[in-house]
């Protein structure tokens, strides 16, 4: 067997490590450990000269194992593996000791920290001796991209990728794309109309030769890994032939049954067969099966009779579409906080307590009131209160700030001033106007004579105490600037409800094995330096599924995710992780326990030359090691995490 020659390098990390750990002493000690032929300390091992030390020693001293003790391996293990590889050493013959995050940064006592660093280095030296070179294989990659969610984030990402002439499958669960942005009236702080800037993009998606739009569809299953995902999509039956439907809208007109429109937030009606809104893409009708009288009672079919294009098809069935893609972008957006949960605000009990999105539809010229701000009885309000932070910045609901409410609250104040003669009261905790042009807009609205009351609203009631309050909604709040409880009688209350994770975020996270933060939004790979990647290679996130944000930030993130996907595509191949399970066929008794415990169907008991043994499909194996734990004979092990390797560390750490 080849003699093991290990080089050990102790990083000072400036004073980050050297300030607490006696790095020279650790290096001296490392030199006394078995197999170590060279041990050095250096100011910054990750720098070019630091890496050159390793490369030169590999070449000049014939090192065949390398250990660096520095920051977390999550930071620089790839750097030093690459350095080894550059010098011709297999990167899996490298081991990393974490003496910064796990030592110098969490302990004060120099002696204690130095002893701990020595232990960690000793464990790494013992482990690396047992490490084996692993072969890194590459396989071709599918350049197609799946984008889940057709709001502005999904639309932007789709266009960026499709304009690079790569196939995009855009899956949207609603009958039309556009998401929440399509429901907005004007966008802060420029007050440009949301539809006007969104519609051209939606049309482009609908017509793009490289975008396959699967609207009214849901992703049911995703298998595989970066480069080769297999996706199953259920295309729900619209009971209308998308190819034949001309979107003329006659069916909806003739449909005798009208129900609350989801798009209009229940302020307007739609037919049971309907096109959700005027600019909908795809511009085709959908039958709401749950509420269609034909489906419920077996009679009607009025829409079918009036459809000249013969597009209505009551026999249509859900269709299962199988897709193959190389990367996935999640742009699934957000849900709005249900204002009923804070019952003291009276949403659902009082007619004129609205949510922001309902008010949004009201100010929209194409909306249910034709752009007029009206009370339920058709009058114009004389006083309006805008309540901030409904469900946000509240320990009982969501601790985070929803980031958009201050600004849209200001926008509402401006629109109320512009469209009515009403007095406006903003009830806020803090005004957070941090974006481009936001502060200027805040000042503009202040100058328009809007009243700002700093304090959280306790209650909205219709119980009047004075004559002035009769027939009004009374907003009770603590004015923290005046230091007293105030009662503001108004006609209309607008609740700025929190943005929250989609109710099915947990299922989606499980499907793709990505993580969620404590608040439920999807977790990025690194909060600052890798904000659109996830723990799963080839899966990216953008927009509000990652956390509340406004349209410019959403679009920027969507383009970032698209760039990440394009970089996967342009590389053209994926590296297959060699750190997967392997079977020692001599020891294997073909008991099948590995097959039973594996969630990825990687090990299978097969017949090989007439002998039954377990065999691992490396493409399916994720290297979690569950099979190795249950294997009764020790035949199963995970490369680079073998029993011997991990035991050697445990032993080494307790040796002294």
């Amino acid at each position: 067997m080849e003699e093991i020659k290990t080089g050990v390098y102790i990083c000072h990390c400036g004073l980050n490590i050297a300030g607490t750990v006696d790095v020279e002493e650790v290096a001296r000690y490392a030199g006394t450990l078995p197999n170590v032929v060279v041990a050095r300390d250096y100011r910054y091992m990750c720098s070019d000269p630091g890496q050159a030390l390793i490369k030169d020693d590999i070449k000049n001293l014939g090192l065949n194992r390398v250990v660096v003790a520095s920051c977390s391996p999550r930071m620089h293990e790839p750097t030093f593996r690459r350095a080894c590889q550059d010098a011709g050493l297999n990167p899996y013959l490298y081991e990393h000791a974490n003496i910064r995050e796990h030592c110098s940064w969490v302990h004060d006592d120099r002696q204690v920290a130095t002893e701990k660093a020595k232990d960690l280095v000793r464990a790494a030296v013992m482990r690396v001796a047992l490490q084996e070179p692993l072969e890194i294989k590459e396989r071709p990659l599918n350049p197609n991209v799946l984008i889940v969610g057709g709001g502005i984030a999904g639309i932007q990402a789709s266009l960026d990728i499709a304009n690079g002439e790569h196939r995009v499958y855009l899956v949207e669960k609603e009958p039309a794309i556009g998401g929440h942005m399509a429901q907005l009236d004007r966008t802060f702080p420029t007050l440009d109309c949301s539809e006007c800037i969104l519609t051209p993009k939606m049309t482009e998606v609908g017509q793009h030769p490289f975008i396959t739009l699967l609207a009214y569809s849901e992703v049911e299953d995703i298998a595989g890994s970066v480069g080769n995902f297999k996706v199953r999509v259920r295309k729900k039956a619209r009971y209308v032939d998308e190819e034949k439907c001309t979107g003329c809208g006659v069916c909806e007109e003739k449909c005798p049954w009208k129900v609350d429109s989801e798009f209009e937030m229940g302020l307007g009606k739609r037919g049971v067969i309907y096109i959700p809104f005027a600019q909908a893409i795809p511009h085709v009708a959908t039958i709401d099966k749950e509420r269609c009288v034909y489906f419920l009672k077996g009679k009607c079919r009025a829409c079918e009779k009036f459809c000249d294009a013969k597009a209505v098809n009551f026999e249509q069935k859900d269709e299962i579409v199988e897709l193959e893609v190389g990367s996935i972008i999640l742009t699934t957006g957000y849900d709005l906080f249900d204002a009923r949960r804070i019952s003291q605000y009276g949403y659902g009990s009082y007619d004129n307590v609205l949510t922001g999105l309902e008010f949004e539809r009201m100010t929209c010229a194409a909306g249910p009131t034709g752009g007029k701000i009206l009370l339920k009885d058709g009058r114009e309000p004389e006083r309006v209160a805008i309540v901030h932070c409904v469900g946000s910045r509240d320990q009982n609901y969501h601790e985070y700030c929803s980031r958009v409410c201050c600004m849209y609250g200001l926008k509402y104040a401006h629109l109320i001033k512009e469209l009515t003669k009403a007095e406006v009261y903003q009830m806020y905790i803090d005004m957070r106007c941090f974006g481009e042009g936001f502060e200027e807009f805040y000042r503009r609205v202040c100058d328009e004579g809007v009243n700002f009351i700093r304090g959280k609203v306790a209650k909205v009631t219709n119980v009047a105490l004075t004559e002035e309050e009769q027939g009004k909604l009374i907003v009770i709040a603590e004015d923290t600037l005046l230091g007293g409880i105030i009662r503001v009688p108004v006609d209309m209350v607008i609740l700025c409800t929190a943005l929250e994770p989609r109710s099915d975020a947990e299922d989606v996270a499980k499907l793709l094995t990505i993580n969620r933060r404590a608040d439920g939004f999807f977790l990025e790979k690194h909060v600052k330096l890798d904000p659109v990647a996830t723990a799963t290679d080839g899966v990216f996130i953008a927009g509000c599924c990652e956390g509340p944000k406004d349209i410019p930030d959403t679009v920027a993130q969507a383009s970032a995710a698209a760039a990440k996907a394009l970089s996967v595509i342009s590389r053209g191949r994926v590296v297959i992780e060699p750190t997967v399970a392997q079977v020692n066929e001599v020891l294997c008794q073909a008991c099948g326990r590995c097959e039973e415990i594996c969630d990825f169907h990687a090990p299978k008991v097969i017949s090989k030359d007439g002998v039954r043994v377990s065999s691992v499909d490396a493409a399916l194996c994720k290297g979690c090691g569950a099979c190795a734990v249950v294997c009764p004979t020790g035949a199963m092990s995970v490369r680079h995490s073998t029993r011997e390797q991990i035991t050697s560390m445990v032993e080494a750490l307790l040796e002294v």
Partner: protein
């Protein structure tokens, strides 16, 4: 005589608890230096051998920590680890080790303060228990 300083081995999953310990470092959240962390890819990868080896070698405590069930990078590692842990708890009891020497925790990436609290709590508890009773026996 110097105060008894227990030796604790923490087997931490790469994706959650190891990362939580990293963030404890980045955030300079201090905790007792008695713990030595060994990185494993998944808590479901922790083999009973590691626990037995640690106690055999004189560890005063062993912590197995990884993702919460919903966060697992490998779908279902935590319940597999739980099943192993329940069995091993009985085994280490049979060996004469007191409750609290073998501990199982779920600590996600965002829970660095919890990681530090767990280590503090464990060190405190084991200081009360004293040296592992196995140490003397192994020496004999």
């Amino acid at each position: 005589m110097a105060e008894f300083e227990p030796k604790i081995i923490a087997l931490c999953c790469n994706w959650c608890t190891y990362a939580a310990a990293d963030i404890a470092g980045t955030s300079r959240i201090h905790y007792p230096s008695n713990v030595r962390i060994v990185r494993v890819m998944c808590s479901g990868m922790v083999d009973p051998i590691y626990i037995l080896k640690a106690f055999e070698m004189g560890a005063d405590g062993v912590l197995i920590a990884g993702c919460h069930e919903a966060d697992c990078h490998y779908l279902n590692g935590p319940p597999k680890c739980d099943a192993m842990f329940e069995k091993m708890k009985r085994v280490v009891n049979m060996l004469g080790l007191e409750d609290g020497r073998l501990r199982r925790e779920m600590i996600s990436t965002s829970e660095a303060p919890i990681f530090a609290q767990v280590i503090e709590g464990m060190v405190k508890q084991i200081k009360k228990l004293g040296h592992s009773p196995l140490q003397e026996r192994v020496k004999v």
